[in-house]
């Protein structure tokens, strides 16, 4: 038996990855941490502020209401997009020439840049020239998203559903086509009806895919910024001022670096916690 040869030169091979991670995650994150515990003055003067900004943000009425709006928005969007996407995936064809047509159509909304999505819906929903607004008003419903909070919410939710349901549908579709034919054949032989096939074959087999869809949609909707910023800019009033929009107002509008940094970190912790919660709940009954 020869002694184990120690050669630490291999560490140099991982150095590039360390550098990459450092510059793209650690350094910016630590800068934010740095700001969050200091008071900033002009001329690059910083003084220690401790947990003051965190206390301020956590007790601020403004933060609470933005957080509530954000939670409500994510909740509504998930409640619509997940069942709708699943439903669309179930009705998509599995074989034949229509498969590619459907896939292309479904991917279209996902290929459009986010600020373009915001602009499109902005133009669609403008009360004086927009097609959507004309139609709704033509039906006798008073609709003006620049003035009515409910109309603004309706428009934003509709835009998000239009933009992202495809993602859920495509994920579910991928999960559905990977179920072997034998399962459907066995179900036929066992006399299972459509509902039983969905409940005992399709839904269990889609569990992992659905978990991913919920996580992705939750994280994205919780961080939504671009489309809302273009469409309503957080208004009317503060009706659609979500956390991200509020954060940008504080950081770049008011240039309050300390509170903005503290808020960023709290925001980050909330997303991390809720994602962990979703994942744990959905994977609770996993044997393997």
């Amino acid at each position: 038996m020869s002694a184990k040869i120690q050669n630490n030169k291999a560490w140099w091979l991982v150095a590039p990855v360390f550098l990459m991670v450092a510059f793209n995650a650690l350094v910016p994150l630590m800068t934010v941490v740095n700001y969050s515990v200091q008071e900033t003055f002009g001329d690059n003067v910083f003084t220690w502020a401790g947990v003051h900004w965190f206390q301020e943000v956590l007790h601020s009425e403004r933060f609470h209401s933005a957080l509530l709006r954000q939670l409500l928005f994510s909740g509504i969007v998930l409640a619509i997009e997940i069942p709708l996407g699943l439903g669309v995936a179930l009705t998509m064809p599995r074989k034949g020439p229509w498969v590619s047509v459907c896939l292309v159509l479904m991917s279209l909304p996902l290929l459009i840049p986010w600020n373009v999505v915001g602009s499109m819906w902005n133009i669609m929903a403008l009360p004086d020239i927009g097609l959507l607004a004309k139609v709704i008003n033509g039906l006798g419903i008073d609709y003006n998203y620049t003035r009515q909070p409910v109309a603004a919410w309706f428009t934003i939710v509709l835009m998000d559903v239009w933009h992202w349901t495809s993602l859920v549908a495509l994920l579910c579709y991928a999960g559905l086509v990977s179920i072997p034919d034998a399962y459907y054949q066995a179900a036929k032989v066992d006399g299972a009806k459509t509902w039983a096939v969905f409940r005992y074959i399709q839904l269990p087999k889609l569990k992992h895919v659905l978990t991913i869809a919920v996580l992705l949609r939750f994280m994205d909707s919780f961080m939504i910024y671009t489309e809302v910023s273009v469409l309503t800019g957080g208004g009317p009033g503060n009706a659609t001022t979500f956390l991200s929009i509020d954060l940008v107002k504080i950081a770049l509008g008011q240039f309050d670096l300390g509170p903005a940094a503290a808020m960023s970190l709290i925001y980050f912790m909330i997303i991390l916690f809720l994602s962990w919660l979703f994942y744990t709940l959905m994977m609770k009954n996993e044997d393997a």
């Binding site: 072997p180 034998a182 399962y183 054949q185 066995a186 036929k188 032989v189 066992d190 006399g191 299972a192 009806k193 039983a196 005992y200 074959i201 269990p204 087999k205 044997d287 393997a288």
Partner: protein, 360 residues
């Protein structure tokens, strides 16, 4: 329970097959009767259409032409549920989220059977399949053979199924468990007396399981018979090749006035005297088991000897053809030139592949 008859069944996977072109069809005009309570095997190489035939009988596919009758009722277009068929697939299909008990009860619950009937039935079947101990465990935690037993159990749990189909059910089972499940199947067949149709490309599985083996090739039925018939009197050289290890020796020959000859040497055969045709490709078929070393006979040269346990497979060459024979392991094997003799009763003449004197 039912007698299953197939009449002139043809099947094509093409949307618009040309009925004049045989190549368009994976099954070419099959007719066959399956008696109630029989144990059948459908044996053939991959792609010969045996799974297609199985799915046509169970109702997962609708035939392009022809009829399927269950006790004289035409069920060609009926669903698997209407036909009351059970089927076990190549890969075990279980309902992951259910317990073993719920899996077994599933086909009955789907048919609205009351729980008071289901409970004793499920327990009885679980007992037969040695699943009682795991009855309340999640089915997804079982091993492959346990899962395959559940698939089988879902077929057995309905007391009125017309037949149980098996589509290569032992593919994913570990070798040492294969024989266990195979003998379990045999035992279940004897206990329940259900019609069982078993698709496989493995001759051992087919020959041990079935009373009647249906050998298929290229979308056609080549021979139906007991394992012994298939071994002793293959109707076609394909059956001779496909069944047996090693397969039958097939040698080119001539037949004149009922006398067969190979490489100029007369050979006495079982059916040579009945041959009346002409201009056909003629062959002698004799299994290695019925070839022996002799003092006189066909001159051959030993090329290779392979050990196969209690026997040795001796490969010889005679007049450009390979002839294999089986010798007991304690028999001394000469080297170089030998003479071979064929057992007359098991030496057959084949014309264009089909046995002479029996081809319809």
């Amino acid at each position: 329970m039912a007698k299953i008859s197939i009449e002139n069944l043809r099947h094509s996977y093409l949307p618009f097959p040309n009925s004049e072109r045989d190549e368009d069809y994976v099954l070419k005009k099959l007719s066959i009767d399956w008696a109630d309570g029989g144990a059948y095997a459908l044996l053939g190489p991959s792609g010969c259409g045996k799974t297609t035939l199985l799915n046509l009988i169970s109702g997962l596919l609708v035939p392009t032409e022809g009829k399927i009758l269950f006790d004289k009722h035409d069920v060609s277009h009926a669903s698997p549920e209407q036909r009351n068929i059970a089927q076990v697939f190549q890969f075990p299909v279980i309902y992951d989220t259910m317990t073993v008990y719920d899996n077994l009860a599933f086909p009955l619950r789907n048919r609205g059977v009351s729980e008071s009937v289901i409970d004793p039935r499920v327990k009885e079947i679980a007992g037969m399949l040695d699943l009682s101990a795991t009855l309340h465990k999640r089915a997804s935690g079982l091993t492959a053979d346990g899962k395959q037993k559940i698939s089988l159990g879902r077929g057995l749990v309905r007391s009125d199924v017309a037949a149980i189909m098996f589509d290569e059910p032992l593919t994913v089972i570990d070798p040492h468990l294969k024989w266990q499940l195979r003998s379990k199947l045999k035992e279940l067949h004897q206990r329940t007396k259900r019609t069982m149709i078993y698709v496989t490309h493995d001759q051992t599985e087919a020959l041990t399981f079935a009373d009647q083996v249906v050998v298929m090739n290229n979308g056609e039925i080549v021979q139906i018979g007991t394992p012994i018939e298939l071994f002793e009197k293959p109707k076609h050289t394909f059956v001779g090749h496909f069944i047996g290890s090693p397969g039958m020796n097939v040698l080119p020959c001539e037949v004149k006035n009922g006398q067969a000859s190979f490489a100029g040497q007369a050979i006495s055969t079982d059916n040579g005297s009945t041959y009346k045709g002409q201009n056909q490709k003629l062959e002698i078929g004799v299994r290695p088991e019925f070839v022996t070393l002799a003092k006189t006979g066909i001159a051959a040269e030993i090329v290779k000897v392979a050990d196969a346990g209690r026997f040795r497979i001796v490969e010889t060459r005679a007049a450009g053809s390979s002839i294999k024979l089986l010798l007991p392991e304690d028999q001394e094997i000469p080297t170089g030139k030998v003479n071979l003799a064929f057992d007359k009763a098991h030496t057959q003449i084949y014309a264009d592949g089909w046995i002479v004197g029996e081809k319809p």
